[in-house]
């Protein structure tokens, strides 16, 4: 009889794809700011939009951090329970 191995995944693994998204955001955001500062004309408009972007990003990051810190990230997800539940459901 086939027995499933005990697969336990920590929930903080979700930070890996999230961290990838944050990395992309930072790289593209910084490049964008560099382009505006390097190639735009001397104008209040480009400074204003840059400040607006950074301000908006900070606000979004702050809200995200507030919500993220409310959760317990030490939990683990037992995949075996999930798979056994599904096999029982289909039988």
């Amino acid at each position: 009889m086939f027995t499933l191995p005990n697969i336990i995944l920590p929930i903080w693994l979700l930070f890996l794809p999230f961290g990838f998204v944050i990395g992309l955001f930072l790289i593209y955001g910084l490049f964008n700011i560099y382009h505006l500062l390097r190639f735009a004309t001397y104008n209040l408009g480009s400074y204003f939009v840059t400040v607006l972007f950074i301000g908006g990003a900070v606000i979004l990051a702050a809200i995200s951090i507030i919500y993220i810190t409310n959760y317990d990230w030490t939990l683990t997800w037992n995949l075996t329970d999930f798979l056994e539940f599904k096999s029982v459901t289909f039988l």
């Binding site: 929930i11 979700l14 004309t41 809200i63 997800w77």
Partner: protein
């Protein structure tokens, strides 16, 4: 940063006659799309508040949902900024000596070219569509005698006036050389 008073390779007596970007409808579109991309999910969160709250308090689902919403918001904000930069860095500068075409194509491609007014053979303005007609914006095509691809001023305001200005400057330049 580019200083319009000190353009690269400026000639003596060169002055900027026109500094053009795409019409104000372009950043307005960006604002509208961004508002929709933020607003529709917020509306959904408000309409299905109880269900969403249940999910947010459920272990595992809550964590995944918070990270997904956060990533979505940051990416949407970034795309709005990228689109604005693309609009802002596309410029067309017409001086009494040359036309400078600078186009930002994506984040890592930038094309800058210039042509001298003496090589301009044909200038065409085009206004197509109801909105373009009411708001008076459209394309201006500048063609040289050579094989070079013509410059296209995309969605600039008052294209007819832009065309007239280029034609006038071209004739003035050519008559100066002739004399």
């Amino acid at each position: 940063m580019m200083d319009l008073q000190h353009l690269p390779n400026a000639r003596a007596g060169e002055k900027v006659e026109l500094f053009l970007r795409r019409n104000w409808t372009t950043p307005l579109e960006i604002i509208i799309y961004t508002s929709l991309l933020f607003g529709v999910p917020v509306l959904g969160l408000w309409l299905f508040n109880e269900q969403i709250s249940d999910w947010l308090t459920t272990p595992y689902i809550g964590q995944a949902l918070v990270l997904a919403i956060s990533a979505y918001a940051l990416i949407t904000w970034l795309f709005a900024f990228l689109e604005f930069t693309d609009y802002y860095l596309d410029v067309w500068i017409v001086t009494n000596e040359r036309i400078i075409n600078i186009e930002q194509k994506g984040l890592f491609t930038r094309v800058a070219s210039e042509l001298h007014l003496t090589t301009v053979e044909d200038t065409t303005s085009e206004v197509k569509g109801m909105l373009h007609t009411f708001l008076d914006y459209g394309n201006v095509y500048v063609q040289t005698a050579g094989e070079r691809t013509r410059f296209i001023f995309k969605n600039v305001p008052h294209p007819e006036k832009v065309k007239e200005t280029i034609v006038r400057l071209t004739e003035e330049k050519k008559s100066k050389i002739t004399n």
